[in-house]
Structure formats: C-alpha cells, structure tokens
Symmetry: C2
Subunit: 363 residues, 2 copies
Amino acid sequence: EVAPCTEFDKAYFHSYAHVGIHEEMIKDRVRTETYRNAIMQHRSSIEGKVVVDVGCGTGILSIFCAQAGAKRVYAVDASDIAVQANEVVKANNLSDRIIVLHGRVEDVEIDEEVDVIVSEWMGYMLLYESMLGSVITARNRWLKHGGLILPSYATLYMAPVTHPDRYSESIDFWRNVYGIDMSAMMPLAKQCAFEEPSVETITGENILTWPHVVKHVDCYTVEIDELESISTRFNFKSMMRAPLHGFAFWFDVDFSNFATSSTNNHSSSSITGPSNDPLTDGSQRKKRSNPNDALVLSTAPEDPPTHWQQTLIYFYDPIPVEQDQVIEGSVTLSQSRENRRFMNIHLEYSSGGRSFIKESVMR
Amino acid sequence: EVAPCTEFDKAYFHSYAHVGIHEEMIKDRVRTETYRNAIMQHRSSIEGKVVVDVGCGTGILSIFCAQAGAKRVYAVDASDIAVQANEVVKANNLSDRIIVLHGRVEDVEIDEEVDVIVSEWMGYMLLYESMLGSVITARNRWLKHGGLILPSYATLYMAPVTHPDRYSESIDFWRNVYGIDMSAMMPLAKQCAFEEPSVETITGENILTWPHVVKHVDCYTVEIDELESISTRFNFKSMMRAPLHGFAFWFDVDFSNFATSSTNNHSSSSITGPSNDPLTDGSQRKKRSNPNDALVLSTAPEDPPTHWQQTLIYFYDPIPVEQDQVIEGSVTLSQSRENRRFMNIHLEYSSGGRSFIKESVMR
C-alpha cells in the first residue's frame, strides 16, 4: 500500500536535480546555520547513533550529523541530486558512515531502526510540496521508540497585512502611464498580480495584528491523512486604521529536546483558540524564546529573511479597516487532487459587513 | 502561403496576455521614452498619416502615434492583450483614430497602404522570439513605397567577457561550504549554471575588447529567410590580461530618418568585417552618435540598463588570456526547428592554442 510515484512526483524530484535550488537553500544562512546549530546542540542524541536524512539533497545535513558523531547516516533522496551527494560524501572520506540511498523513503530499504530523523522538508507556506509525508513515512518505517526528529514541531501562522506600496506599484501604476490614463488595464492587473499566492518579503510593519495559528504540527504524532486538508477559523482585530490588502502566511519550526515533546502537546491546544485571544497569543510568542532553549527556525516577517520569505494572498481590492475592526473568516489548505504537491487555498473573510471568498492555487 | 499559427505560436501569444510582461516593458523607461521621443521626432512623417503598430500590446505606442497626429493607427496584436488595448483606446476617446485588430499580421486585413510601421519587436539577443518576421510581413503587405519603419535598423553585437565574481559565486562557492569541501558539486554547477544563455546585467568593465557586429538588420530590406540562420566569424584581441568567462551579446536599434536609410546600406558592409578591424569598429562607434541625430535605443553594457539586460554565454571553464591574445571563432544563431521562437546558438572559439565548441538553446 505504498503510494505510487506519479509523473508529478517525478517532475517534483527532477526539479531538485538542478544545482540552483540547492545553492539557494545552502546560501540561506538562517536555514543552514540553524540546522547545523540544532544538530550540534543534539550531539548527545546523535553521537554513536543511526540517523536518516529525509530528502538529503547535496548531503550537507548528513555531513553535519557525521560531524556530530553519528555512527551511520542514511541519506535518502529520490532526486538525481543523490548522485552528487554520493560524490560529496566520497570526497570527504565519509563513505563508511554516510550511505546515500537514491530513491523514495517509501521504496528504499534500511535494515535497522534509526535513532534520529533529520529533514528539511518545509515548503512555502510550510506545507507546499507535501514533503512532510515522506518524513512521516520514514518515522513510521524506521524510527525507534523514543527517537529524535529534527525539527520536532512546526507551526503555520497567518495575519492580515497592509501593503500600499506593493498595491500601488502593480495596480495604481496604470492610472497614469507617461501621462496616459491606462486604468482600463487595472482589472487585468488585479487578476494577474493577485490571482496566485505571491512569495515575497514583507516586514513587521505590514502586519495588522498578532498572527493566528493555522496549524501546529507535532512531527512525532502527525499522520499523513491529516495533511490532506487543513481548516481553521480566524478572528482578528486590526491594531490600526489601514487598507487591508490581504493575508500573509509564514511558519517556524522548533528543534526541541525530546524530553520537552513528550510533556507538551501543542497540537490540540493551539489550533482551536482564535488568534486574538491573549492567552493563545501569549503562548505563541513564548514558544519563540522557549524555556528549554530549543532552537527555532523562524520565517516570520519580523525575523531575518530566509529563502522562504512570506507567502501573500492579496485581495483584488483593499478593504479599509478602522482600529479594532474585526476581520474574521476561515481558510482551508488542501492538497490539489490533480497533484498533491500543489496546494488549494480557499479563503473566506468578512470585515465591515462585507464578505468575500477567494480561491487560489499554489502550483 | 501564410505561415500557419502553430501551438508554439499560440503559447507565445498567450505569454503576452499576462499583465506582468507589459508592466515590465512599460516600466523600462529607456525603452518607452526612446520610442516616445522617436515618434515625436518623426512627427512630420506621422502627422495626418496612417500607421500600423505591429504587436501593439497595451497600445501605448499607438497612443504615442495618435498624440503625434496620426490620422489612423492600426494596432495589431495576436495576443489577448489586444482586448485591453481596445479598452485603453476607448477610455482615451481614441477609437476613431486607433483601430485595434486582434490577430496576426499574417491574418488581419487592412484595406489601405500605410505610411509608417512602428514596432517594438526586439527580443533577448535581438532575435529571440523571432518577432521581426511579423514586421517584415506587415512591411511587405501594407507599407507604401517610401514609408517609414521605426526602428529602421538594428545591430546585434558580441564581445568576450570576464566575470570572476559571477563565476566564483556559482562555481567556486562549492569549494568551501560551511567548512565542507563540496567541490564534487562543481561539474553539476557548471552544467546547470552555464548550459543555457543567461540574461543578466554586466558593465563595461566586464568587456575585454570592442564588440563585433554579429548582424546588422536594415528593416527596409531584410527578408524572413535570412533570419533563419545567421553566421559570423569573429577575431578579438584581448585588451587586457584576464580570465575569459564567455561572450556577451547585446543590441541597439536606430530610429533613423528615412532620408538616411536610402543613402546608407549598412547591412552588407558591417556583417563582413572582423570586429577588431579598426575601421569597422570606428564606424560601429560612430553610429551611436550619428550625424543625423537619429535616436538610438542601446542595450549595451556601458549604457543605462534596460529590461533586455545583456545575454551571456558562459564557458564551463574560464580561459586565461594575456593582453593582445587572440580569441577567434564563429557563431551561428538559428531558429530552432521544433519552435522557431527558440534560438539555437552554436559557438566555436579558440584561444591560446585550444579550441572549443559550445551548443546552447535559448528557450
């Protein structure tokens, strides 16, 4: 009952055979250094142990694990980049400790239980690419009871945004083009610029309220079927008067100690509470400087930028909101039926007595 | 015997239905203002006359022509952007003077001769997209004897380039990645980074010699079949000691007065001479500040950047060259057989006693 490898999966794996995507990820210092620090911080759980690196790419995380003293690392990747990973491992004289397996985690064979899973599986909006399913498969196939998963938790956030400059550059621009009124272009401009989610970097100043938790993932317990469709209701209260241009999504992941994970069960508590509940917000904010000093890799607008940036869903027209005005609604993120690597985003929102629905697809 | 509209042509036209490409072109002030200035400079040839705008896009050049006093402008575009062009024309109360024709120049009907053709047909490396053929078709179908074509001439240049920073960022980067020797990635990095032509902005400092004219196009006389394949031999002498990383291509177009064009026949003279012939070079440089004050839209590295940037073809490995070292060879640019909008680039070059061949495709 292994999921078949579709043509879409093949195209997905092939996209990782190009060097550019690995160069971009590796050059993202926030990403790569946080992973390295997390691996070194968990050295005591890695030393002398067996690790599997799910989607190893060029093999850099596997090498960090070897540097942290892993006895054996299975570096698994379905993309042809595994060929290069193997060359890198050989050139670094690590072939005795890092075993590159060129195939899907569903298909490759590992004849022992593993102590640690490390994986950099996060896509835009956390769940785009649907790679978390491979981590779950690896966990269910090979992870020892009491084993470690790095990262351990992931949280997807959303918040209402104002971004007058962006709107003006793309839309108002057409009002006066070298002295010509080209506003007849504006309907097409709105449709083209704002039909699909936009990956771009915004700042904390674009955010109108504290974020809402769309989904908290506990990598120890999450199962594949709960990722097919995720729904949440939100209820924001704007902290200022501004034109509301859309919603921003971002995530963070948490390299907790295993000890922490068994005592906290974030997943059930943080999905339900509305984001403007002060208690929920408090716990969200605390997570980022949590008492166990677990490392957090954050892609939030107020944190240093990463290659994930933030994902924006713009409305066709801004909604003017007053301070304390309520913005409420719901969002459903679901894997596209045609290609589970794509994500359908169904957004319903209302504010100031008007309601809207926006459907978009992240391809 | 009209060329059929292929699926590739449809995809090509469809790519111009998105607003982004028009926004980018219009926001390129060097491009748009040079066209506007050229149209205004030729006001005496446009006033009270009939114009056809080949590939009108949003219609902005047609409106400039109406502002310059054209009696009637046929704005032709095969892309659905023609629908918006028509809306823009209506909103500006120009429907009586600008007639938007949604179709290919091969297919639409214009029941009169035209005095002026204006078109912004240039692609990357001048000829990518093969849109010049549509200008030729329009000229052969409708242009009056003695009519004006804007722009009138186009010249494609090439020059050897050194670009150590770019090479280092993409290739040498892998030598030391967070302390790990990942140089096993370098063959893939070279292949991925340098297989296809790269559109990027360089500066005059990257150029090792005066440029060579690959092709000079006289829009009054050029015929479609001579664009299918263009070959030229080059013979450069490096003006400095540097690693040679590849060749850059760029172009300029010239909005000459018609009077000039009939007396000069650039096309036959400038293809043949090798670029390091001082006489040929002299005439090349002169063109850019020519005595008739014809406006030039230049995309050269030493001029202000445009959205065309420059097109670079990188070698897999740099060639060290000394001052005065000869770099010679040939280049053939041909329309791809599978899709004439694509361009095959066949490059043969030798220097310091070694010879190389590089094939690439611009898709």
